[in-house]
C-alpha cells in the first residue's frame, strides 16, 4: 500500500503540469487527504482496511475508493474517519475498529479517537495519543514518532 501511494505521488510529480481550465470539480486536496489517511490506516492496521466516512460526499467517495475499500456502514468497517460534524451517538461502538478525526479538540475530549488530522496555523498536522495507541496495541513505524503526543 505504502509503495503504491509513493508511486502515485511520484507519478503526479512527473506529470505535474499547469492546468488550462478547471472544468471538473477540484479534487486535489481531497486526494491528498485520502493519501494521508491511507498512510495512517496502513500503518495502524495489518488487516485489509475497510473504511467508513459518515455522510461521505460524492467527491470523497470517488477519490477515497482509489485507496480503500469503502464500507457503506460503520458496523462493517475496521477504520472510521470522521471529518464532518455528526451526531456521535449514530456511530457504531469502538470495540473492534479504529476511529480517526479531523478535529483536535474532539481528539482531546473523546478517548474513542486514537488520532487526528487537523489544521493549525495554516498547516496540516497529525497527532496520535500515546495512551490510546498502547490501549489498542497499535505499534506505529518509527517515522511516525514525531506525531505521537503523551496523553
Amino acid at each position: 500500500m505504502k509503495v503504491f501511494i509513493l508511486l502515485l505521488t511520484l507519478l503526479s510529480f512527473i506529470f505535474a503540469e499547469n492546468y488550462t481550465f478547471l472544468v471538473q470539480p477540484y479534487s486535489k486536496e481531497v486526494e491528498l487527504e485520502a493519501k494521508i489517511i491511507a498512510e495512517i490506516a496502513t500503518a495502524s492496521l495489518h488487516s485489509k482496511i475497510k473504511l467508513f466516512i459518515p455522510q461521505i460526499s460524492e467527491m470523497e467517495e470517488k477519490v477515497y475508493s482509489k485507496y480503500f475499500t469503502l464500507s457503506p456502514k460503520c458496523e462493517d468497517a475496521n477504520f472510521v474517519f470522521i471529518n464532518k460534524n455528526i451526531e456521535e451517538e449514530s456511530l457504531c461502538d469502538n470495540a473492534s475498529r479504529l476511529f480517526f478525526t479531523n478535529n483536535y479538540r474532539k481528539l482531546l475530549a473523546n478517548d474513542k479517537y486514537f488520532g487526528a488530522l487537523f489544521w493549525n496555523k495554516s498547516r496540516p498536522n497529525i497527532v496520535f495519543s500515546k495512551k490510546r495507541l498502547e490501549a489498542k496495541a497499535i505499534i506505529l513505524p518509527k517515522t511516525f514518532e514525531q506525531f505521537i503526543e503523551i496523553f
Partner: protein, 631 residues
C-alpha cells in the same frame, strides 16, 4: 529542470518520511487556493494564498493595480477608484466586490471606494477576479468585473496572528486575527484592523491631503451548513481636492461607517439548496468649505458672472440594503442547472443636507427607495467530455418610487469551454448586461437630462490557454459595446448618446521554476472609440522566489502615457522590490521599496467645472517595513 526537481523529490521521499512529504504537499496544494474557482463564470485570475504571501501583498490595491484592462486612480475625494481601460470614472459602479458571499458595494453609488476600498489582506485567504461575469451565479447586482475576496478559514488557522506595517510616509497599520474551532464542529474567525492613511500632494503650492484613519472588523462564525458573517468599517479622512471649483478646499472631511450581517444556510445532504439573508447599514457624512465655491451639481447656478456654488456644504446620509437569496442546483443527465431568486431592497435617507445659503436642502431627488426582484437560471451542458456549453439568463424587475418608472430588464449570457487536449483550452462568452442608475447618479443628474437610462453592455470574449510542463501561456480578446453609458460631466450625469466601443487583447505567461519560485509576465493593449482619459496599454513582470529562510519578490507595473486637452501624461513604471526573512515558521519580517523610479500613474482633475485640467501622482515613493507573528 524537471529532472532535477524529480531527483530532488525522489531523494526526499527515499530519505525522509513520506507522511511529512504528503503533509507538505497538502499545505502547498491548499495554498494554491483552487477549490472555489468557477470557470463557468468568466475569465478568471486567481491570487492564491501562496502568491499573496510570497509577493507580500498587504492591501487589495496591491493586487488590483496589476490587473489588465483596468486602471486604478485617486479620485477628487482622495479615494482609490477603479476604471475600465482608457477612461477615468469618479465612482466605479461596474466592479462588484464580495467578501465571501456578501457584496460590499455602497447602497448609494455602487462603489466600494469609501467604506471597503483598499481592504487589508491580513484576513484574506485568496482573491478571484472574474472578467465578463454578470452576477448570474449570485443573484446580485450587475457588473463587469467581479472581485471575490475569500477570507481565511477558521478551521485551517486555529490560531492568533498579529500583522503590522509602517511606511516611510508615516502610514501604518495594525491587525489582529483570532480563530478557533470547537469539538461540536463550530468555528470562528475574528479580525480587527486599524490603519492610518497618509497621502499628501502639493498642487499650486498648496498641500492637498487625504490623511485619515480607517478601522475594520470582521467576524465569521459557522459550521458545515451555517455561516454568519459580520463586517464593520469606519473611515474618517480629509477631502483631497474635494469638490471645490479651484480644487483646493479650505477645509473638509468625509466620514463613513458601514455595517453588515450576512447569514447563509445550506439545506439537503448535498448542500444544493442555499439560502442567504443580509442587511447593510451605511452612514456617510461629507462637509467642505471653500471661498471660491463648491461644485455640487444640483446646487450650481449660472449667471452673467459664470457658474457659482455654495461656499460651505455638508450632508449626512443613511442607506439600508436588505437582501434575500435562495438557490437550488441540480443535475439532470449531462446538464447542471442552477436556479435562484433574489430580492433586494435599498433605501436612501437624507438625515441632514445644508449649505451656507440653505440650512435645509433635504433631498436632491424624490428617488429614495428601490426593490429589485431577480430570477435566474443557468444550465451548463456537457456536450462531450472536452466541451461544456453554458447558457444563463436573469430577469431583473426594478420597483422604484418617484419619477423613475418601474421596469424589467433581461440579461443573458452564452458561452463554451473547450479543452481538446490536456495542454490546450479555449473559452468564449457573449454577455448582454445592464447597469441601472444608482441613487448617486439620479441625485447628480445633469438638469437637462430628464431621465437617466440603464447602461447596456454587450460584449464577447475569447480566451486561449496553452500549458506545457511548468509554463502557461494565455491570450484573451474582448470586444465591448456600451449604449447609454452614464458619464459624469462637470454639471452632472448624462447618458452618452452614441455607442462606445472598446477592444482589448491580453497576453499572459507564467513559469514556475519550483514550487516557490515563479515568474509572471502580462501585457495588454486596447482601443477605445472615445478620447482617452486614462492608460490603454499596460502590463507587468513579477518574480517571486525563496531561498532557505528568505523570500524575495519584485514587480514592475507599466501603464502607457497619453495626451488629454494639452496635458501630456508620461508612461508609468511602478517598480517595487522586497525581501522577507522568516525567523521561524511563525515569525517573519519584510522590507519593501515601493514605486522605486517615482514614476507612478497619474490621475486627471479639473477646476472651474472642467475649464482647466491638471494631473497628480497616484502613489508616492516609499519604503514599507512589516512583520507577522502567528501564535
Amino acid at each position: 529542470m524537471k529532472i532535477i526537481v524529480l531527483l530532488g523529490l525522489l531523494g526526499s521521499l527515499l530519505f525522509s518520511d513520506s507522511l511529512d512529504a504528503l503533509l507538505q504537499e497538502y499545505k502547498s496544494t491548499s495554498d494554491n487556493s483552487l477549490r472555489t474557482v468557477n470557470e463557468k463564470m468568466g475569465h478568471v485570475m486567481i491570487y492564491s494564498q501562496k502568491e499573496i504571501r510570497l509577493m507580500h501583498y498587504t492591501k487589495l490595491n496591491d493586487i488590483l493595480k496589476e490587473l489588465p484592462l483596468f486602471n486604478i486612480n485617486t479620485n477628487q475625494i482622495g479615494l482609490t477608484n477603479y476604471s475600465l481601460t482608457g477612461s477615468k470614472t469618479t465612482t466605479s459602479g461596474f466592479f462588484r466586490f464580495f467578501i465571501n458571499d456578501h457584496e460590499i458595494s455602497s447602497g448609494y453609488d455602487q462603489s466600494t471606494s469609501l467604506s471597503w476600498g483598499d481592504l487589508p489582506l491580513d484576513f484574506v485567504d485568496h482573491v478571484e477576479i472574474y472578467y465578463g461575469e454578470s452576477s448570474f451565479s449570485f443573484g446580485n447586482e450587475t457588473g463587469i468585473y467581479f472581485v471575490r475576496i475569500y477570507t481565511k478559514s477558521a478551521l485551517k488557522e486555529n490560531s492568533s496572528e498579529i500583522n503590522s506595517w509602517i511606511t516611510s510616509t508615516g502610514a501604518n497599520s495594525q491587525s489582529f486575527t483570532n480563530s478557533a474551532s470547537f469539538e461540536n464542529g463550530w468555528s470562528y474567525l475574528m479580525f480587527f484592523n486599524q490603519e492610518e492613511v497618509k497621502k499628501t500632494t502639493i498642487h499650486n503650492g498648496q498641500k492637498l491631503n487625504s490623511n485619515g484613519i480607517k478601522h475594520y472588523m470582521y467576524v465569521d462564525v459557522g459550521n458545515d451548513t451555517t455561516k454568519v458573517n459580520v463586517g464593520y468599517t469606519d473611515v474618517s479622512k480629509n477631502n483631497y481636492t474635494g469638490l471645490s471649483f479651484d480644487a483646493m478646499p479650505t477645509s473638509g472631511e468625509s466620514l463613513s461607517t458601514d455595517f453588515f450581517i450576512n447569514y447563509t444556510h445550506y439545506f439537503l445532504d448535498d448542500k444544493s439548496l442555499k439560502a442567504n439573508l443580509s442587511v447593510d447599514a451605511n452612514n456617510r457624512s461629507y462637509d467642505e468649505t471653500n471661498v471660491q465655491g463648491i461644485a455640487i451639481a444640483p446646487l450650481i447656478t449660472f449667471s452673467q458672472f459664470g457658474p457659482s456654488g455654495p461656499n460651505r456644504y455638508s450632508e449626512d446620509l443613511r442607506f439600508i440594503k436588505t437582501n434575500a437569496y435562495l438557490s437550488k442546483s441540480f443535475d439532470v443527465e449531462n446538464n447542471s442547472f442552477i436556479t435562484a431568486i433574489n430580492i433586494k431592497n435599498k433605501t436612501y435617507d437624507v438625515q441632514n443636507r445644508e449649505s451656507d445659503t440653505n440650512s435645509n436642502i433635504g433631498r436632491f431627488s424624490p428617488f429614495d427607495e428601490e426593490t429589485i426582484s431577480s430570477l435566474l437560471l443557468q444550465d451548463s451542458y456537457k456536450l462531450r467530455d472536452d466541451l461544456i456549453l453554458v447558457a444563463n439568463t436573469k430577469l431583473d424587475y426594478y420597483d422604484r418610487n418617484a419619477y423613475l418608472k418601474d421596469n424589467s430588464e433581461t440579461l443573458l449570457r452564452v458561452g463554451a469551454i473547450y479543452t481538446p487536449t490536456e495542454n490546450w483550452g479555449f473559452k468564449s462568452f457573449y454577455t448582454q448586461t445592464k447597469l441601472a442608475p444608482s441613487f448617486y447618479n439620479i441625485d447628480y443628474t445633469n438638469k437637462n437630462t430628464l431621465k437617466l437610462k440603464s447602461q447596456e453592455y454587450r460584449f464577447y470574449t475569447l480566451e486561449g490557454v496553452y500549458t506545457q510542463g511548468d509554463s502557461k501561456f494565455g491570450i484573451t480578446y474582448d470586444h465591448v459595446n456600451i449604449d447609454d453609458f452614464i458619464y459624469l460631466t462637470p454639471i452632472g450625469f448624462i447618458n452618452v448618446d452614441h455607442t462606445i466601443s472598446t477592444e482589448g487583447l491580453i497576453f499572459d505567461y507564467e513559469y514556475s521554476f519550483t514550487d516557490r519560485d515563479k515568474i509572471h509576465l502580462n501585457y495588454f493593449t486596447s482601443t477605445l472609440s472615445e478620447s482617452v482619459t486614462n492608460s490603454t496599454k499596460g502590463g507587468y513582470i513579477k518574480y517571486m522566489g525563496g531561498y532557505q529562510k528568505f523570500d524575495y519578490f519584485t514587480s514592475l507595473i507599466y501603464r502607457n502615457g497619453y495626451d488629454y486637452l494639452g496635458l501630456s501624461i508620461p508612461d508609468s513604471f511602478d517598480m517595487s522590490l522586497g525581501i522577507a526573512y522568516h525567523f521561524t515558521k511563525d515569525l517573519s519580517c519584510s522590507i519593501k521599496a515601493n514605486n522605486i523610479f517615482d514614476r507612478s500613474t497619474k490621475s486627471l482633475y479639473f477646476t472651474n467645472l472642467g475649464m482647466n485640467f491638471f494631473a497628480l501622482d497616484d502613489n508616492e515613493r516609499s519604503v514599507t517595513f512589516s512583520f507577522r507573528w502567528v501564535f
